[in-house]
Symmetry: C2
Subunit: 351 residues, 2 copies
């Protein structure tokens, strides 16, 4: 399965759009802010450049797409205020797969620049937002082009499904091998694109054993149920799994050290509830599954393109999401396991 | 009227899409190729850079959007072949207004890179296509960022409608003033973004007196007819004209010289028939207005967003285009006046 040709967050601004269902991802970006600011401070103070070129790998669409840019501007403003210097120009590149909905993000740019002016007093020309469409598992920029790379909630996506493992016992190995290969390539390509002393702030899901690491777990339970009930023909499924791998912290460290281009400057973990942003209202209070439905809309905004390609049938996809809301409530939320475990890493390119 | 918030070529790939109705614009890009190659040759031989950064201002969507990038690669391949050097990396930025359909262009990137590999033997990493959404009447890039600027069929668009002139006599002056202001701003901003010795190749419509300079002329005739027949209420029209100005050659020279950032390296003119790419088939042969309908689809792909905003009524827009096919046949094509008069200019940033 060619993940890169299929995967994209739901576009537009409708009920199931990523734009309207991405509060957990927003929270992860917000939680990474202090480390982002520290990293930008170290970068900026190492030469006080007039222009800083940053790239957000896997920016997705919707309001989150411009949030890291906003936070970078906010951080640089604070840093330069402390130093009594004029903030550098920010050249900010949004990256995602070519099938992602860039149009909606671009249409929001005029109001983004207007907010910069009214809320931050920036003149036009202090920030230029550009885009670099393509897979971050390949090269995206000329050599020594970037000062800073950011990525949130993206690196646990694999570039392709692992080869079908021989046995249940080999599944973890097959997934880890694919992650190792993808993440190593990411580090290698970014190190080629980053200038000397360049930095990265990465947030990705990790495996913390207790929490359900990704909503793929309940989704697979639903699919298994439907196969056993004869509603899905197993032979027609293009895959029996999802191209996501939430690594253990030690695995991530191992890949970074073996690849060798970056020093680990800092490493933290934090959790974001799957219910982040959920507001219980009176009508929903009567519905036991309101929380599960909320999680479902989020999961759908991210995974629908992929699930459609795996199942090939819209009615089945609808039924999977209907059952998912129930399954996720009963099996995950009721047990207090519904939280994304996020690993936050600050890296510096070696000299 | 805020032209920049309204204007965009018709998106997607349908019957009236710009993607399927842009052969005249393609021809203008093809005609500019020799001068593009000469200009890139002069640029490259002035220091043999490892990477050349180019921007296409007003790239639109559809297959034309990537054509200048392809031609630049083709030119650099030839140049480097002659010199027995490895071609530089091309970092190519597509620019258009934020409302333009970038998604369709981005989706075609994987096949564009694949063609580069199979037809030109380029390894991945020889060319990176990026986007810089925004108005080219403002700044789009950090200072001293670009080596080369390209623009085809875009600079005759005005950033706004001229203030309503006092009399018929003042119309030309009002339009020229707006063009002067817009084109001067374009030159100033590009000179700030271009590196020292940077170059530009610009193609825009000019006024050659004989040819109908833009399809706005027959469109206005149609609108006048419909007003006099009571089908359009003049008071409800948001504008009685289009934000396009095809300047005289001397006017263009005058603006460049007064603005002062660029030397004119070369200046040529050429014509592209409104019927470029039209193939008369047997069915259409029976229809006197087949040629007019062909022109109408082209005009519609470019101007529909604008006309809809001026008229505010889809049925009226449909009727305008129906009558346009007839008017353009009888008044323009039959008289041999249906050709775009293009001015092609090569500029060098002054030291």
């Amino acid at each position: 399965m060619e993940v890169e040709q299929i995967l994209h967050m739901n576009g537009g601004e409708g009920e199931n759009s990523y734009a309207n269902n991405s509060l957990t991802q927003k929270e992860a970006i917000v939680k990474a802010k202090p480390l982002l600011e520290q990293s930008l401070n170290d970068l900026y103070c190492n030469g006080f450049p007039d222009c800083i070129t940053v790239a957000d790998m896997g920016c997705s669409s919707g309001p989150n797409a411009l949030l890291p840019t906003w936070e970078a501007i906010d951080s640089l403003d604070k840093i330069c205020n402390r130093l009594n210097r004029k903030p550098p120009v920010l050249h900010s590149f949004l990256n995602d797969l070519p099938g992602s909905d860039f149009n909606t993000v671009f249409k929001s740019l005029p109001s983004f620049y207007e907010r910069l002016r009214t809320e931050k007093g920036h003149e036009f020309g202090s920030c230029f937002v550009a885009a670099a469409p393509g897979s971050f598992h390949a090269r995206l920029f000329p050599p020594n082009f970037l000062d800073f790379v950011y990525s949130s909630n993206a690196l646990h996506w694999l570039s392709q499904m692992p080869k079908e493992p021989m046995s249940e016992f080999d599944i973890h190995r097959a997934y880890f091998d694919q992650f190792k290969s993808d993440f190593s390539a990411f580090l290698k390509f970014r190190s080629e694109e980053l200038k000397c002393g360049g930095r990265m702030i990465l947030t990705l899901l990790y495996n913390d054993s207790f929490h359900a690491t990704s909503p793929g777990e309940p989704a697979l339970l639903v699919i298994k149920d439907m196969i056993s009930e004869g509603l899905i023909e197993e032979s027609k499924l293009k895959s029996s799994n999802f191209p996501i791998y939430a690594p253990y912290v030690d695995e991530v460290k191992q890949v970074i050290e073996r690849e060798g281009s970056f020093d680990i400057h800092q490493l933290e973990t934090f959790h974001v509830s799957w219910l982040e942003g959920f507001v219980e209202n009176d009508n929903e209070g009567l519905d036991k599954y309101a929380r599960g439905k909320y999680v479902t809309r989020h999961v759908r905004a991210v995974g629908e393109s992929l699930l459609s390609s795996i199942c090939g049938d819209d009615a089945i996809v609808e039924e999977i999401y209907r059952r998912f809301a129930i399954k996720v409530t009963d099996e995950i939320l009721e047990k207090g396991r519904g939280a994304f475990a996020n690993l936050l890493i600050s890296l510096v390119k070696k000299l």
